[in-house]
Amino acid sequence: MSIPTRPRRAILRTLAAAGAAAVVLAAAACASSSSSGGASGGTASGGSKAPIKVAQISTLSGGYPFGDVVPGTAAYFKLINSQGGIDGHLIQFQSGDDKGTASTAGELARLYVLQDHVVAMVGNTSLADCNTNANFYTANSIAVIGGGTEPVCFSQANWDPVNAGPYYGKVVQWQYTFNVLKPTAVCEIEQNDPTSIPYYNQLRAWFESQNPGVAAKFKEITYTNDATQNPTPAVAHAKALGCDLVELSTVAPNMVAFVKAAKAVGLDATFITLGSGYDTSVPGTLGALADPGALGPKDKGVFVGAELAAVNSTNPQVQLMVNTFKADNVAADFWSEIGWVSAATFVDALKAGASQYDITTAKGVLEALQHMSPYTSGFAANAMDFGSASSHPGNRGSQMLLIKNGAWVVAPGQNDGDYDVVKGLLPAAGS
């Protein structure tokens, strides 16, 4: 039953055009999702001494956006500038959206470093930056403090993640899963990221070797968590396999989609994800669906491994952040925390090193960071220390949170401000 209209030759010509368009579309998929590829977000306006120019490259658009990291960073720098800056130097901050693409990440890094002469990158939280710019940063003595979104971010000399991420954070998540939640069958739906897959496999093999009996409980390990795909097939498959716990590594909108899809297909399971799912809007969005037992008797709730402090923590440093964010109209969540803690670590190191190093140059900033004393941020399991090794000790812990009665609360087996830390020695990231 067809409509005899357009001739076949015309259709073929159009299909060829459509094919070409599909290629352009793929490019547009990366290039179209933002309008802020350039520098923006300046927070300082002059001062008696030369400014300290810093920049940030983050993924702010696309399937995995880390949007609040920019205002989180800017809020801290604004606070410091209002107090006179660092040793009289005001901080000039700009940021750009790499859209999760290597080409844009590389382009922005060169723009900021070679043209704008920034002396460090602060708050970088990107799907592409660690992979793309590692050698460039090393060659130009540019230090980076930010949020590591891939294991490879955790094994670079000039790149220091403030989060536990898909590295220490993943191990802490497994520790909590098997020691506290004790599921009978686990379906792990990992990020579809080719760079990280070999490392995930290696990390899991190491964890299984350290914890006999765990391997048999992993019923399904797939690398299909992709924001472009509907989550329904994945949760339906988890149901067919009898999984009573689903592990994810994803951002909040996708985590919400997985839980809703689980309800739709009748999957009775607990959900747990990395800190990337820690967003204060999640409890309200999921509503009663997030409460333990909402998906069935095996559902112990929706958990996240908060790699940085819970925003309702009573820690005064956390409260300072929350109040500053409130004044600046910035959402307090995992991403804005990464920006804040990255900036705080950077400022602490430069304040201490200002008398010894020229903190208006990239080399001076790098030296100040390499010789910094460990900084207790109040947001992480351990003090932050850049150091001069080929990789950084970073944030080795996570605090498990659970949604209960419409809010994130400290999960069973945890105490406010206490973090589970990685036990044992991990294999080197990316090795």
Binding site: M1, S2, I3, T5, R6, A10, I11, R13, T14, L15, A17, A18, G19, A21, A22, V24, L25, A28, A29, S32, S33, S34, L60, S61, G62, G63, P65, G67, N192, E220, T222, Y223, T224, D226, A227, T228, Q229, N230, T232, P233, A234, A236, H237, K239, A240, V251, A252, P253, N254, V256, A257, K260, A261, A264, V265, G266, D279, S281, G287, A331
Partner: protein
């Protein structure tokens, strides 16, 4: 396997509805509308905003979203008739890429990576089939998409307006000289596509990510389905959409699951090679 296939009805229903619109627009207007699902997604955003700003309940907000879908279609249709009425099919199709990019830029700013509760058209319980819950909305969408395909084709073949649309698609200038309101009908088809795309996206939204770009790229899968119908047969395109959804659902948990995004591409290549097989053999001889 059966559970995986049934799970594919959720995305399959969306692909089916979008594929019908793609074929309709191609046959009637001579454009492969790559901005189709972005139109629907942006209109769906309006339902969200209406809930937030106006405090509307799910019903009225859904109606508002559908009206927005029609409005977006009217605006884009007017742009098309104003500037590209006599342009080539290739050029018109390329223009829709620009529309897609523009819509994504706007939609991405609205959703901004946060989580949302979109109004649910069919919030009732799922239907249990072979141990797998299938959302009632997805089942309805699959059926409606196929009925839509049949209905539109019957409409085009048997009604006076359908004949006018077909005439317009074949010879727009001649049709205009004969008194057919080409511009009005073109805009009407764009508006109709906007309405269908909005409904299609809104059905899948309650169980899909609320990041805008993935919603805008649903059209890629639908394009594969439209090609199964050789850009002519809407019924085959609709059924093809459901099959691609099922294929995607089977592939996803398999050993090659990380390549699920390649499913529509494989379908497109296969169809084009199959379609041109005689030409290739003729040249070889």
């Amino acid at each position: 396997m059966v559970a995986d296939m049934l799970a594919g009805l959720v995305p399959g229903g969306v692909y089916a509805a979008l594929a019908v619109c793609i074929v309709l627009m191609y046959q009637m207007l001579g454009v492969v509308n790559l901005a189709l699902s972005a139109m629907g997604a942006l209109a769906a955003c309006m339902s969200l905003l209406s809930v937030r700003w106006l405090g509307l309940s799910p019903g009225p907000s859904t109606v508002l979203a559908v009206l927005c879908g029609a409005l977006i279609g009217v605006i884009l249709g007017l742009l098309m008739v104003r500037y590209f009425l006599e342009a080539s099919v290739e050029l018109r199709t390329t223009v829709t890429i620009a529309m897609l990019v523009g819509l994504i830029a706007v939609g991405d700013r609205i959703l901004n990576g946060a989580t949302y509760n979109f109004p649910n058209l069919f919030s009732g319980p799922s239907v249990e089939i072979f141990g797998t819950g299938v959302p009632i909305g997805s089942l309805i969408e699959v059926v409606v998409a196929i009925l839509l395909a049949v209905g539109v084709q019957v409409f085009l073949r048997t009604t006076h307006l359908g004949a006018q649309l077909r005439a317009m698609s074949e010879r727009p200038i001649t049709a205009g000289l004969l008194g057919i309101r080409v511009r009005t009908l073109t805009v009407a088809v764009w508006a109709f596509a906007g309405v269908i795309a909005t409904i299609a996206v809104m059905v899948v939204l309650p169980t899909s990510t609320t990041s805008f770009p993935p919603l805008a790229y649903l059209v890629v899968y639908a394009l594969g389905a439209a090609l199964l119908g050789l850009m002519r047969n809407m019924v085959v395109a609709a059924v093809g959409g459901v099959l691609i959804g099922m294929l995607e659902s089977i592939v996803q948990p398999s050993g090659i699951g990380r390549y699920t995004d390649a499913v529509p591409f494989v379908v497109i290549v296969f169809v084009m090679v199959w379609w041109r097989r005689r030409d290739v053999w003729s040249e070889a001889r």
